[in-house]
């Protein structure tokens, strides 16, 4: 279909079990992953993202639908015949082989000549900066080092697509940040298509060219990080990506109004007149503004260092969080119980149907 598609998923479903106990882990998902992009499947655990990854890898077969890699239907092709490699969540490094032997394993299985394998291994060791550990066994390496070896091993056969199944989840925060940059660098340097699975929205936002948000076996939205963050298609996406305040409003004459009639600075399409909608607004886009159109009461302020989170209660009882930059003194000068007026940054309010 698409000229530069690395992976095409066509109406793929995956059902576990049968009869009344059957579980639909993936429900007619269609998706095109472009060649050379860093694509992330994002969603909470059990949303079907790992299942989709395993369908692409070939460890599972779609119950219905097709998986195409490089334009060829591989739905029934065993994993050892797909030009796709995986970085496993647990790394799955062979404990009886050295780092070098691990990295060379794939090429060896492909029957490449010794000299070529040796070259490739040396190149990969340099790429992930593990030259000094070449003769170690995996169990003698730290988590971060094992991660690098797993990456090198999967990259060595130069696959069409590299699949990464939550590879950073076992690392501590600092190392995880480091590896995020490292992964991005490797992807750019090698030009290989990366399909990355994670439940960490921050990880997804910082690394990806495009993100696919999944929930309950469905693909809800596909788009660039900014698009997903700023234009979520529904409440789930808005809630899952970043923090979001939700307000219920009714559109009157193109303007959404809260239940007490206060107007929100946003435009609603005329066709929705009289309808009830959900408004989503990010905490950093809520302003304490004496001129603001909405009355609120401060419930609590929580100091976070650079930011102070201000919990607000509206007249109708809705709770809202405003993320304000802390002043140099550290005290934003607002007390619980204080009555204030708030407003939203122009254009920041998202209108979600239902």
């Amino acid at each position: 279909m698409t000229e530069n598609a690395a992976v095409e998923v066509q109406k793929a479903s995956r059902v576990y079990g049968a009869g009344s106990s059957a579980v639909r882990a993936l429900d007619e998902v269609s998706l095109t992953i472009r060649r050379g992009e860093f694509f992330t499947l994002l969603g909470p655990s059990g949303c079907g993202k790992t299942t989709l990854l395993r369908l692409i890898a070939g460890f599972e077969t779609p119950t219905t639908g097709q998986i195409l890699i490089d334009g060829k239907d591989v739905s029934q092709t065993p994993p050892n015949q797909r030009r796709v490699n995986t970085v496993f969540q647990s790394y799955a490094l062979f404990p009886h082989l050295t780092v070098s032997q691990n990295i060379g394993f794939g090429l060896e299985m492909l029957g490449r000549p010794r000299a070529q394998i040796k070259d490739a291994v040396a190149r990969m060791l340099a790429l992930v900066k593990m030259e000094k550990m070449a003769d170690r066994r995996p169990q003698m390496l730290s988590g971060g080092q094992q991660q690098r070896v797993a990456l090198a091993r999967a990259l060595a056969p130069e696959p069409e697509v590299l699949l990464l199944d939550e590879p950073l989840s076992a690392l501590d925060l600092k190392l995880r940040k480091e590896m995020q940059l490292e992964l991005k660098r490797l992807q750019t340097e090698t030009g290989i298509t990366f399909v990355f699975v994670t439940h960490d929205q921050e990880e997804a936002l910082t690394m990806s060219d495009r993100i696919g948000v999944m929930s309950a076996g469905n693909l809800l939205q596909v788009g660039a990080p900014r698009e997903i963050y700023n234009r979520p298609v529904n409440r789930f996406v808005a809630d899952f990506i970043g923090e979001t305040n939700f307000l219920t409003a009714t559109i009157r004459n193109g303007i959404p109004r809260l239940s007490n009639g206060e107007a929100v600075q946003a435009k609603g399409p005329a066709r929705l007149d009289g309808k009830t909608v959900t408004l989503a607004v990010r905490p950093e886009q809520v302003r304490i503004d004496p001129e603001g159109p909405i009355h609120a009461t401060i419930a609590q302020t929580v100091y976070f260092g650079t930011d102070t989170h201000c919990h607000l209660r509206l007249a109708d009882g809705t709770e809202l969080v405003a993320r304000l930059q802390s002043p140099p003194s550290g005290d934003i000068g607002l007390k619980a119980g204080e009555k204030v007026r708030i407003g939203f940054v122009p254009g920041a309010v998202q209108m979600l149907e239902g």
Binding site: F59, E60, T61, T63, P78, P79
Partner: protein, 267 residues
């Protein structure tokens, strides 16, 4: 078309070999059980269903005496082995490595490593010397020998249970003003009970099954059930021996089931 997953764990032919292995494992045992109910004198021909061989074995005074002897030895050996093994397990588990621990460990497991025939020969020589020197006869020799080789079988499940136990429970008891002895009586021992029961049961089965050491150590007229059965063997297995074997098999399966249930119910 039905689509099948690529099975990661499948290896060609393995399932078939495994099923054949189970059939081969059970066919002889099942045949033996069936033929123990054979009415015919000959073990080769089927002469109809009968429990006459069980009756014959039951009324055979030699079988009765051998059974009682086997039970006395097995119960005594299980009691002795379990007692000393429990103490040793408490001494060698959960107190941090200490010097000589490996030596204790090797000594306790020694009966598992030395071929039984070698131990049998050693005991024959040793006990013969004692008998000549002191003139003491009796079942004591057999009980002593059985207790010794049962120790590792009692020790292993108790140790496994101890290692799986949460140490903080005892710390908590001590924190709640229990003396070391009270802690042991009220906390450690009840938690350890399934392991001890399992160890005792294994020891009992091992002692009941023993042939080689008993064959070498026993004096005349001290046959246990297995050595009696071995002695009965001339050209072929008699239907009576089949009946005794089946009875022993049933006993083993019952004990084993109990053992499984005991070890499974672990915290």
């Amino acid at each position: 078309m039905a689509r099948r997953d690529f099975s990661v764990s499948a290896l060609p032919g393995f399932g078939t070999i495994a099923v054949i292995a189970f059939v081969l494992l059970y066919a002889p045992i099942v045949t033996m059980v069936i033929y123990s109910f054979n009415d015919s004198e000959s073990v080769a021909l089927w002469g109809g269903f009968s429990t006459r061989w069980y009756a014959a074995a039951w009324e055979n005074t030699q079988v009765q005496e051998a059974t009682i002897r086997s039970l006395i030895i097995a119960v005594s050996a299980a009691l002795i082995a379990t007692t000393v093994a429990t103490m040793a397990a408490l001494g060698t588990t959960r107190r941090g490595k200490f010097k000589g621990q490996t030596i204790i460990y090797i000594m306790i497991n020694q009966p598992l490593m030395v071929p039984e025939i070698v131990t049998a020969v050693a005991l024959l020589i040793f006990f013969a010397a004692i008998k000549v020197a002191t003139g003491i006869q009796g079942l004591g020799y057999l009980i002593l020998a059985h207790s010794a080789f049962c120790v590792p079988f009692a020790y292993l499940p108790i140790r496994a249970r101890l290692e799986g136990m949460d140490m903080t429970l005892e710390t908590a008891a001590a924190d709640l003003y229990a003396s070391p002895w009270q802690t042991f009586r009220r906390i450690t021992l009840p938690l350890l009970a399934p392991g001890i029961a399992a160890g005792a049961m294994l020891s009992f089965v091992i002692s009941l099954d023993d042939v080689i050491i008993t064959e070498f150590v026993k004096s005349a007229g001290q046959d246990t059930l297995p050595t009696y059965m071995l002695g009965q063997l001339r050209r072929a297995v008699t239907p009576e021996v089949n009946a005794i074997s089946t009875a022993l098999l049933v006993l083993t399966v019952l004990l084993l089931t109990a053992f499984f249930l005991l070890t499974r119910r672990r915290g």
